[in-house]
Amino acid sequence: MPLLELESLQVRFPVERGFFGRGTRVVHAVEDLSLTVAAGEAVGLVGESGCGKTTLGRALLRLIEPTSGTIRFNGEDITHLPAGELRSRRRQFQMIFQDPFGSLNPRLTVGQSLAEPLEIHGIASTPAERAERIATLLRSVGLHADHADRYPHEFSGGQRQRIVIARALAVEPKLLVCDEPVSALDVSVQAQVVNLLQDLQRERGVALLFISHDLAVVEHLCQRVAVMYLGRVVELGPAREVCRRPSHPYTAALLSAVPTLDATSRQKRIVLRGDPPSPIDPPSGCPFHPRCPIAQDRCRSERPALREIQPGRWSACWVEADQLKGRS
């Protein structure tokens, strides 16, 4: 049984029409999305901005309500769990965001910020136990016990992100949803945080849903990767295999856009035309067809389903899936 199981999750936002328009339109932020995360597994979620990554992360933690579909955690359907009961489950899944500045209350010391979740979930009951627990948490993310008395502004961005991670770990979650956790950090500091997440996953068995636009980091950190386009998963599989031999043309284009130190060794770059279409009126057929370099007639009218094309490898494309099957 997977730790987290999403079945046909859908999140739609009604938005006001423009100045002269009438009624409302609907943003199809997440469409018919199914995904699992096993206990202790790291799954990457990649795709261009606006494809629905943050919405998915927030919906699966019930920070926003999904329009339809099912969320199961440890086999339990939590999709419609009332708020009171949800709170007791929240201990098991935590989310960290891109901006380590906005995520900490500037008026609380680091120790007070860390004590909060401990109190809410009744974890360490005496002040002595709590202080001990906070010291352990700070050390586990590479900070000092005496940092507990300082305020967020006294720390650098990388240190703050580690404090945010320490706070998420306070309740010993089984799943950490990380939304672009290193994007705002300096290059030389990103590696510190990536290594910390890697240790948590490998040594403590914390499962990660790692949302990122950086495919190289996902390939490095994650066992599996899901590639999203306009609210849907278009490719899913083992991270290294997908990065080495993408099946879906969108994955191939995304990979080929990543700058490399060794540009001379790369095959001819696939440059995608234009921007992703609006999720307000997603294209008919395959959502990628307007930008796809190998689209065919069928792609414009019929939407390809996400199919298992090899054990563990899934792709939603009429053309490439057949080719990958043929090649193997």
Binding site: E48, S49, S156, G158, Q159, D186, V187, S188, V189, Q190, A191, Q192, V194, N195, Q198, H213, L215, A216, V217, E219, H220, R240, C243, R244, A253, L254, L255, S256, A257, V258, P259, T260, L261, D262, A263, R269, V271, L272, G274, D275
Partner: protein, 325 residues
């Protein structure tokens, strides 16, 4: 004669009654048609260096406390406002990270380009030239797009408009400060292809500023690496990436994962980037350097030329592959 040459540039900012140095003795030059990438982490002084070339920093709080900047042999720091006007947007054009902030939201993009033409190339200030420029930077349906307002365009299209405006004056040097940082990788790839193509067709030199070492391999001829207000290494792109000489360059390359070459673990650089006013004595990288020696903490190294048209600010460095260290 180099198109641009900078010698020992020092830039300071007034902060609470004292001057804090942000750029400290930067020297480099760019030949006509050459692409130089200036690389470094946030706060190391890349943008301040770039803005100094067109003398675009507000004075005060900024002041040029030392050094020289020459564009086509003319001394920028002693120019009159009139002469500066001729250089900016004439010989030298800029593209910045946030096109939305640089474009005027209340005017159509076409009329903004037309205005640039009227100032710098009045003979060519026509609607046809505007449409040609928009087409040149890969904007589909340029006649229609010329009538768009900035907010009607995506981030990638806005950046293309900025580039069209920058090349409208036929500059000999295009300074692009993090032009793709706010964009998705797919759009970044489009903009990089466009810059490479324009460089070929127009023969202009490019100073590309980035914190992303990955871009360097895509477009640079030569690279200058900055740390804490100083250049720590300059080299042709191939040798810099494959045999970095300065420990900081080497550490920077090792700290980022590379697609297709997964490693067991990233080699993080301990500590954080020091901000202006808090630079350590001796070598500024010493507190974070994996190969630090005793004398590094007291003796400030100078930038020395080494073989292969390179220079490095570290007495203990030797060009080496990142794999072997």
């Amino acid at each position: 004669m180099p198109l641009l040459s900078i010698h020992d540039l020092e830039v300071e900012f007034r902060l609470n009654d004292r001057w804090v140095r942000a750029v400290d003795g930067v020297s480099f030059s760019i030949e006509p048609g050459e692409t130089l990438c200036l690389v470094g982490e946030s706060g190391c002084g890349k943008s301040v260096t770039a803005l100094s070339i067109g003398r675009l920093l507000p004075e005060p709080p900024a002041r040029y406390s030392g050094g020289r900047i020459e564009v086509e042999g003319h001394d920028i720091l002693s120019m009159s406002p009139r002469e500066l006007q001729r250089i900016r947007g004439g010989v030298v054009s800029y593209v910045f990270q946030e096109p939305a902030a640089a474009l005027n939201p209340v005017f159509r993009v076409g009329s903004q380009i037309l205005e640039t033409l009227q100032i710098h190339r009045p003979a060519k200030a026509t609607q046809a030239e505007v449409v040609r420029l928009l087409g040149d930077v890969g904007i589909p349906d340029p006649e229609r797009r010329a009538r768009s307002y900035p907010h009607e365009l995506s981030g990638g299209m806005q950046q293309r408009v900025m580039i069209a405006m920058a090349i409208a004056t036929e500059p000999r040097l295009l300074i692009a400060d993090e032009p793709t940082t706010a964009l998705d990788v797919t759009i970044q790839a489009q903009i990089l292809e466009l810059l490479k193509d324009l460089k070929q067709r127009l023969g202009m030199a490019i100073l590309l500023i980035t914190h992303n070492l990955g871009l360097v391999g895509e477009i640079a001829d030569r690279v200058a690496v900055m740390y804490a207000g100083q250049i720590v290494e300059t080299a042709p792109v191939g040798s810099l990436l494959h045999a970095p000489a300065h420990p900081y360059t080497r550490a920077l390359i090792q700290s980022v994962p590379e697609l297709g070459h997964p490693r067991e673990r990233l080699i993080a650089i301990p500590g954080t980037v020091p901000m202006p006013g808090t630079w350590p004595a001796g070598c500024r990288f010493a507190p974070r350097c994996p190969v630090v020696q005793d004398d590094c903490r007291t003796l400030a190294p100078s930038l020395k030329s080494i073989a292969g048209n390179r220079s490095v600010r570290c007495p203990h460095s030797a060009p080496g592959s990142t794999a072997s260290s």
